[in-house]
Amino acid sequence: MTPALLVATALAGLAASLAGAVTPDRLRIRVSTSLTIGACGCALIAGINILHSGHPAVVHTTALMPLSGFSLALDRFGALFVVISAVVGICALVFRLGYIGHGLGSRTASCILPLFVTTLLLVPAASNVTTFLFLWELMAITSLLLVLTDHAHRGEVQVAAQWYAVMTQLGAAALILGLVLLATRTGSQSFAVIALRSAHLPTWVRSTAFVLALVGFGSKAGAVPLHVWLPRAHPEAPGPVSALMSAAMVNLGVYGIVRVGMGLLGGGPTWWWLLVMFLGALSAMFGSLHSATSRDLKRLLAYSTTDNVGLMLLGVGASGLFASTGHRALAVVALVAALLHVVFHAVFKGSLFLSASSVQQATGSTDLDGLGGLLQRMPVSGPIFLVGGLAIAALPPFCGFVSEWLLLQSMLHGLPSSDVAIAVAMPIGVGVLALTGGLTAFTFAKAIGIGLLGLPRTDGAERATEVRRPMWVGAGLLALLCLVFGVAPFLVIPAVVDAAGVVTRFHSAGALTHGWQIGLPGVPGMLAPGLLALGLLVCTGLVALARGLVRRSPVRLTEAWGCGRELQTARMEYTATSFGEPLTRVFEDVLNPSRDIDASHIAESRYYTEAAVIHTSLEDAFERHLYRPADRGFQRWGALARRVPNGSVHRYLAFGLVALIIVLVVLA
């Protein structure tokens, strides 16, 4: 039955995009969105079915695609990602029903969005090289077009789209090279056959294929140093699209690395996985550092996506390292931790991006220095953002804590080990996890504290009102999931363990969950997140009750204490920049903020300044040291190449002739 559902998903998606293009204005958004939600529904049912039953669903037609035909095969590992994309898709689309900003109402946008969602649902199911690349490219192009929907109003959207296009296509090129290399060497396009025959490929082929796949999928996942497009493209994309990109599309990058690294190539030498761990650690620290010191809310969320992808890669790297040194049980635990972090990241990052878009629509800007006091003005979207923030900061009652704990456990149980690589990598991994956890807690204390609490800093924030119902229903659904998974992770963990088992082809003996608790098989000590949440609730209730009993008189509302000063205005509040300033100073050599002051002096004498303006900006280190020089290099090459075609027809024809001769010589 599930193959029929897969086909139904594809057809519903196409119908939705057709409807988006054809139906008249009034109906367009409603019809195309509901059809797409239908598609997500089908995919969700199919995914859950496969996760439950275990036997994969195969759909194969040679009609649509040349060479090897269009074939989908959804096993448990792919089904996990399909379910995540479906859930995030449904919530984002429900959100879209109420979302009016960012030019999403145009005909092209409502035609392309369903296509984008459908590709998100089908990529994990693709089971041969051509289908996978076709869907991958379709996903890249549709997301690029969606980023561009608002280019008419804002110039920087084009720049962001340019970065995004160049980076994704570079990644796609690396990906195509890698997969084609694998396909030609094993003589078949279908993933199943490649997986079988890849074992006895020469090592240089396996390593090149793996590194190319790592580059391709790493650029899509937003791992450093290929992350530069992420903080540019996500803030410019319209609300639901940036949520889909951050919560669903990025996971497919991690999906790809695990599918190629462990599925197709069946694990590899330790240096592969040390490289993955190194990339993960770099992304985690760099992403969390930049998100801690960034001022724009969506840019902050985008950098924290890079940070969370880093954590996922750390988990995947640790799992590969364990597998390559023989600790297969631990490898599964580490992979389960990484996949669990993928699931939970999709949930809380989705709710964060959606509520950030609600904030943008309500106040007109996402610049944290201009927000404030939104928790009272947006009584529903505010708490949703609060829940999402606490979840991503890995705080107990919510789901982020569970996956962070499991990641720490998987790294802890690698030690003590005689293998030097593990003995060194694990402590540093825990150190990186800890620093990233600390910085994320700092970031979201800032985002929530400055964004939602205190006095509103601009009249945009002053006049903010609650957004329309579908918007906070969509975001609220995901926030609810954050709490539910936080309290009862055993709903998700068995499915993730099966998925990890499928891809590493090793079914671990002990289950990870025993009723309410999670714990590693054969190790004393468990964690009962549900119990902790209950304990917290009871204690909070008791303390609040005690405080109520002790002093029953009403709370007196007064002016905040400002050392007896006359006026207490919003300008005296801390802003995101000042909140992050100590951290910027501590990590000055990594972030090297540029700070230029220009003072204008009064006419009479230079010693008295009339006004002084200070510009501080934090530029991405990779952008400055890696991409700017590359950019200048290409410019120089471009200029050189421009001098060759000087307009003479003969020279052009000569090129043709020379090319022809070269081809003939090569053929002979």
């Binding site: 807690a441 205190g454 190790v523 000590g525 009962a528 917290l536 303390v543 919003a570 000042s578 100590p582």
Partner: protein
């Protein structure tokens, strides 16, 4: 956990632990204050002064800035609640408190982090410059202390093959030799530095300063009055007691009750109170002799703690 523990004794242990922390906290602060004054040549307030202060504060009126949301009044409650949960499940007096199997060292750290974040949010909600400044500094130090703390925990959990507190304590009781290894000593030093940073004692933060610009923890609570302030001060003292008790149990675990029965609990109570009082006095004496570090020298201190913790874990490689 051997099954000889009946439910009653487990519940009793947890209850006793909560009472110990609730009363012990303020008394410990009183004791430390007394030691400080004595070393400064003063008579100083009676040891039960913090209790008197709390009782008086409980009776005063609660105030709240107009524009604050529900986060401001909730923050101190969450702060106290997280400390209570840790006090209930962590093995302070006995190795098998209620739900002791779930008392994971990482969970304890994240519960404390939840408390700190909620206090910081409460401070930011006031919308004053002091609240923002206190929150920013406290979160920066909290973020930078996290690596040293978690890697130190890793160093402690590795020999016990689990990060569960009762497991670590029972294992280290069974192998006293572990306590002298360089791994433990380095982890101990890292732990002490982090405890000083987390609980806001000198040299990281001066709790008794009156100059707002030098405050870190104090600046966050300037707006709380009456019962809210009582909760904050209670939480502050409870966190210090819990951290010191954990420090004592992890590094000098003798005396902790490993079997049920009132006699064991009594011995454990005396031993723990003695150990924590000793650590408190040592901390107070240290505080008198040291001056407050500049805010931007604190990261260097925490980075040092992190390196010590990494050395602790790596030394497990060299010394078998």
């Amino acid at each position: 956990m051997n099954s000889s523990w009946s439910y009653v004794s487990i519940a009793a242990v947890s209850l006793l632990q909560v009472m110990l922390v609730l009363l012990g906290g303020p008394l410990l602060l009183g004791l430390m204050r007394k030691v400080r004054c004595r070393m400064e040549g003063r008579v100083g307030p009676p040891i039960r002064q913090p209790l008197l202060d709390l009782r008086k504060l409980a009776g005063r009126e609660r105030t709240r800035p107009e524009h604050t949301s529900w986060v401001f009044p909730l923050a101190p409650v969450v702060l106290v609640a997280t400390t209570l949960v840790v006090a209930a499940i962590a093995p302070l007096l006995a190795t098998n408190p209620a739900f002791g199997w779930s008392a994971d060292l990482f969970a304890v750290v994240f519960l404390f982090l939840l408390g700190s974040v909620s206090l910081a949010l409460g401070a930011l909600d006031t919308g004053t410059a002091f609240g923002g400044m206190g929150a920013s500094r406290a979160m920066t130090i909290g973020a930078l202390a996290e690596p040293a703390l978690l890697v130190a925990i890793l160093a402690l959990s590795v020999p016990a093959h689990s990060s569960n507190l009762p497991a670590i304590i029972t294992r280290s009781l069974a192998h006293p030799a572990w306590l002298a290894t360089p791994q433990r000593v380095l982890a101990l030093v890292a732990f002490v530095i982090v405890i000083i940073a987390e609980s806001g004692r000198l040299p990281v933060d001066n709790p008794s300063t009156h100059l707002e610009l030098t405050m870190i923890h104090e600046a966050m609570v300037l707006e709380y009055a009456g019962p809210d302030l009582a909760l904050v001060k209670l939480a502050e003292s409870m966190r210090l007691v819990v951290l010191l008790t954990l420090l004592a149990d992890l590094f000098i675990p003798w005396g902790i009750a490993t079997a049920p029965g009132p006699s064991h609990l009594a011995v454990a109570l005396v031993a723990t109170v003695g150990k924590v009082a000793l650590l408190g006095v040592a901390l107070a004496a240290f505080e008198v002799t040291v001056a407050k570090l500049r805010l931007f020298r604190v990261p260097e201190l925490l980075a040092g703690a992190f390196v010590l913790a990494i050395l602790a874990v790596l030394s497990a490689l060299v010394v078998p």
